[in-house]
């Protein structure tokens, strides 16, 4: 009965109209598309428009359903896909770690300034992410190229004798990713750190904890939610990153987003691309749920 009463209250006139549009928009354009991807991942590729076989075939009053598991089988047997998954996982993990190591002290320092300075520092963190992502990645090409600024600088200082290869490898991918995703780490960490009650640290100091000890036993555990939110905001999108490995990485630095793009646009194999998407989603489901939980907790506070 309680549930029913809740529903009735929800469907009062004004609430119904507030609900109906966002609800149906997200079901139509966010939930249903995933089922279509799932469906196409079970079909066979052909040369047609669209380039896949229908799952249901009606012929002489018979409906035939063909589920083709070959796409998934293919993904698990071809080393290309497995390597790309592992490579993406590795790059996502280490770039999240790097963002955390660089971003945490930044967020901490910003949270400990006076409110007026704080706003300016925060704005300076957000500003770059409001300019084009593509152009910020592109800026690094000019810096990392063989005859680029960094090599010229190192040569000029006499540190190296000949240009070192900085671009088109994993190093360049890490630089690009950490550069592009750093604000996504700093902002949630800051939001968390700024809410901490300073009297807790004072209490720790009164009880004889040194600043470093107080940091590790008070501040760090309290900022867990911020660390989770920031890490997920970096880790999950990086797993599917396409632009950065394409522009800064070499041909052998495969990431799963790049493979998906190539299967889709270059090979026009939509069923395989769909199967890659489904597996990628399955792998990301746990981090996404963790992110969502921490987000809900923050919302409830």
């Amino acid at each position: 009965m309680n549930k029913l009463a809740q529903w009735r209250e929800l469907l009062t006139f004004h609430r119904f109209w507030v609900m109906i549009i966002p609800y149906s928009w997200f079901i139509l354009f966010f939930v249903i598309p995933f089922f279509i991807v799932l469906k196409i991942s079970f079909s066979e590729a052909t040369i047609a428009v669209p380039p896949y076989e229908p799952l249901l075939v009606t012929e002489n009053d018979k409906i035939q359903l063909t589920l083709n598991l070959g796409n998934y089988h293919f993904l698990f047997t071809d080393a290309l896909y497995i390597n790309a998954y592992l490579n993406s996982l590795q790059i996502a993990f280490f770039s999240t770690l790097l963002c955390l190591l660089i971003g945490y002290p930044m967020a901490y320092a910003i949270a400990h300034t006076t409110p007026s300075v704080r706003n300016i520092l925060l704005l300076l963190i957000i500003l770059p992410s409001w300019t084009s992502f593509l152009i910020r990645v592109y800026a690094w090409i000019g810096i990392l190229k063989n005859n680029g600024l960094l090599n010229n600088l190192l040569l000029g200082l006499g540190i190296i004798d000949e240009p070192i290869q900085l671009l088109y490898n994993n190093f360049a991918i890490y630089v690009g990713i950490v550069y592009a995703y750093l604000p996504f780490m700093v902002l949630p960490l800051y939001t968390n750190l700024v809410k901490h009650d300073p009297s807790l640290l004072e209490a720790a100091a009164d009880l004889g904890a040194r600043p470093l000890k107080a940091f590790f036993s008070v501040t760090l555990p309290l900022s867990k939610a911020g660390i989770i939110a920031g890490s997920m905001l970096v880790f999950i999108p990086v797993m599917g990153e396409f632009v950065i490995p394409e522009l800064l990485g070499g041909p052998d630095n495969l990431m799963i987003g790049k493979i998906l793009w190539q299967e889709f646009f270059n090979n026009r194999d939509w069923p395989i691309a769909s199967a890659v998407t489904v597996l990628m989603l399955l792998i990301l489901l746990i981090p996404i749920i963790i992110f969502h939980r921490s987000q809900l907790k923050q919302m409830e506070k």
Binding site: W25, F26, F30, Y108, W130, T131, R136, P237
Partner: protein
């Protein structure tokens, strides 16, 4: 932890964020075709940019899509934020919140491919949308921008004192009236920042737009991407500098407007409080009738 080390790290962090952008702007005024060799000051690349018809068409297309996207995302995002913050834990709260916040982290390639497959399936089934272009890009952009806008607006709604809305209800205002007269004016700065955020997100998107656009509709990031792939070109440096300049100006103007709005609101609040206090003080000193009538024109 308030050591010099933290400050040193902070400075390095900011240098890391800004040095590439500054270098880009400086080299957009380089005379040479070679991006990394400085040979003299010149504005020729800006002129070359101005004459590039394909690029100008893409800019116009991107601006139109971004404007329409931001406007729709603020509408949808406000409704979604109201649902999350004001409707209590309704049945289906968690799935709804998950559905709304998931695009925040979803890799762009997944969003792109799934929406394209939806559009293809829809076109086959009901003949709509016919081909792909502005409409499909707009739908895709609204979907992921609404997630960001919802987070921005709902955090503002949570800060808003519910007593204000309850007071208006007690005085007999209908829910719609409360929303338009009380809630909306107070959350206006959040709507503005949500709008700007959606506008820049849409203007910036390459991956999703590449999936859901047809041959006739090219957005600015798509043009930039294809020319970057052909090699580093000073023209792109000039374009980047213009984008950076416009964004910075936009952010500063928006920040200034928001600051003014907040100040104005704070002043009004203060005025109300002072007036109330004065009236209260007067109540105890003199007979009440005069005070309220003579207090203010």
């Amino acid at each position: 932890m308030h050591s010099r080390l933290t400050w040193l790290l902070l400075t390095f962090g900011y240098l890391f964020l800004y040095v590439p952008i500054i270098i880009l702007v400086i080299y957009s005024f380089n005379e040479s075709r070679l991006v990394t060799v400085w040979s003299g000051f010149s504005t020729q690349w800006y002129r070359a940019l101005w004459e590039d018809q394909q690029l100008l068409a893409a800019v116009w297309m991107s601006l139109r899509i971004a404007f329409l996207t931001a406007t729709a995302a603020v509408g949808l995002g406000t409704a979604a934020a109201m649902m999350i913050t004001r409707f209590g834990h309704f049945p289906g709260y968690t799935p709804f919140a998950a559905m709304i916040t998931a695009p925040l982290v979803m890799p762009e390639v997944i969003t792109g491919i799934s929406l394209l497959l939806l559009f293809v399936a829809l076109e086959q089934a009901i003949g709509f949308p016919q081909g792909r272009g502005m409409l499909t890009i707009w739908i895709a952009h609204v979907t992921f921008c609404t997630a960001y806008v919802t987070v921005v607006i709902s955090s503002r709604l949570r800060e808003l004192d519910p007593a204000l809305e309850e007071a208006a209800m007690d005085l007999g205002a209908t829910p719609w009236k409360v929303f338009f007269l009380i809630t909306l004016p107070i959350i206006a700065p959040a709507l503005l920042s949500g709008w700007l955020l959606a506008f820049t997100l849409s203007l910036d998107d390459l991956v999703v737009a590449s999936f859901v656009s047809g041959p006739g509709s090219t957005t600015l990031p798509m043009v930039v991407y294809s020319s970057v792939r052909l090699g580093v070109s000073p023209k792109i440096n000039a374009l980047a500098s213009i984008i950076i300049l416009v964004m910075f100006l936009g952010v500063f103007i928006a920040g200034w407007i928001m600051l003014r709005m907040e100040r104005k609101r704070d002043l009004e609040m203060q005025q109300v409080v002072t007036e109330t206090l004065e009236a209260e003080a007067a109540l105890f000193d003199r007979p009440p009738a005069h005070v309220r009538l003579e207090a203010k024109p």
